[in-house]
Symmetry: C2
Subunit: 259 residues, 2 copies
């Protein structure tokens, strides 16, 4: 009887509320020490977008935002606050859908998501919202180097956000920023158990890691903004990593024409 290697997903509890200018890397290292985890080489740290955005001051009072004409027009069509629509549009590459059901944009980073990821939950103030980090890969790199500096350990970092999806009910966590590990595990060209070549399998492990972390993080009042995942066997740690690898352009989307 041998205990084969399992994966552990550890919630980072006990962080204070995050404010603009806070050193998030330091807060995470302290929280990890307090709960007895301590970072180790090969860990993957998954951090919710909200904590990162707050520490970077990416908060906005939409009551103070002056909407341009296009934002006013979309606000009428969608029934949303004009200042809110304005901040969504500022970080958008294109508007994918503007309808009373939903405002969906492709963000400058490439994510297609509801309201461009601009979100109210767990942000103080009735018309205050959190924007996505300006460059979530850069945010992830800063956390990675901050934790390296504080602990000496080389880890991978994922910044995740809650996404609704076509065809399936409910939200899951997906990756919007990455540092230190390859977001994909590519099986293409490898062989299966019977020697047949695998032609399509290219697993978005970064998204699976984000989802695994959410299982201990939660979305409400849990106050668990991050998790450490330990014991990964298949992911490839590498200096250069970019979340853009997870983006599919409209032209190459196999699901083009399905919705």
């Amino acid at each position: 009887m041998t205990l084969v290697s399992s994966l552990t997903v550890m919630p980072l509890k006990g962080l204070p509320l995050i404010h603009p200018g806070d050193d998030l890397a330091e807060l995470l290292v302290k929280a990890a020490e307090r709960v007895g985890y301590r970072f180790r080489n090969g860990d993957v740290l998954v951090v919710g977008q909200k904590a990162v955005s707050k520490s970077e001051g990416r908060l906005v009072d939409v009551g103070n935002i002056r909407p341009r004409k296009r934002a006013e027009e979309i606000a009428r069509r969608t029934g949303k606050h004009p200042g809110f629509v304005e901040v969504v549009l500022r970080d958008a590459k294109m508007v994918v859908k503007a309808h009373e059901e939903a405002l969906i944009v492709r963000t400058k980073q490439g994510w297609v998501c509801l309201n461009g990821g601009v979100d109210k939950s767990n942000v103080q103030g009735p018309v205050n919202y959190a924007l996505l980090p300006e460059n979530a890969d850069a945010s992830a790199r800063r956390l990675r180097s901050g934790i390296k500096r504080l602990t000496g350990q080389n880890i991978g970092v994922i910044i995740c956000d809650t996404h609704s999806r076509p065809f399936r009910r409910g939200q899951v966590e997906e990756t919007i920023g990455i540092a230190g590990l390859n977001p994909m595990v590519d099986y293409r060209g490898k062989r299966d158990l019977f020697g047949y070549e695998l032609l399509f399998k290219n697993v978005a492990v970064a998204d699976e890691l984000a989802s695994a972390a959410e299982l201990v993080m939660g979305q409400g009042r849990e106050m668990v903004p991050a998790a450490i995942i330990r014991g990964l066997k298949r992911v490839r740690f590498q200096e250069r990593a970019k979340s853009l690898d997870l983006v599919v352009d409209e032209a190459e989307d196999l699901f083009r024409g399905t919705l």
Copy 2:
């Protein structure tokens, strides 16, 4: 310093190749004992669709399938084998896309996926494919009751499949069958840290569990067809569960008109 409760994802290695008629529950219980895990109340067992389909004899030699007219027409359009298209159509509720890029259908169970989930990898024989279980919730219930009978433990069961997604590159595991636990954790109507009501958050934890399991299961020659997830806090175990809760119909899909 207290070790707060973490989640463990344990790979079930050491199963033999699965054949039609095999008692999968028994094979999984034996594998769990061999690696020292043993099932416990409150565990979630995640099993890959391929192992379930094989044990249920859901294998087909598409060379022996006589395509109907519609299958022949779609085979021409997509460049796929006519017998293959025929088996995809037999389990399809509707064809969503039939193009040389991709054949996408909505299965009778409601999943919108490439080739209706009919898949070649890790199936022996050059024109042999595995179909999805006929009713994956029923398959999950059988595994749940089989494991209860053999071990006395009450667990949740998820059957997962590998899905490509719109907008994002690569595949992730998602749930296609469930027993013993609610696939969703619904925050709607609850309050966030600052007392604001959460209006939309309804987390598809079943899909997150499937993705977490894939991190230890793999897709190639790993021979890890299942995983046990232990230490879940938020999911609701319940006798009645259905994967249909994860299906969004075309009419209510927020992403309608975006692809």
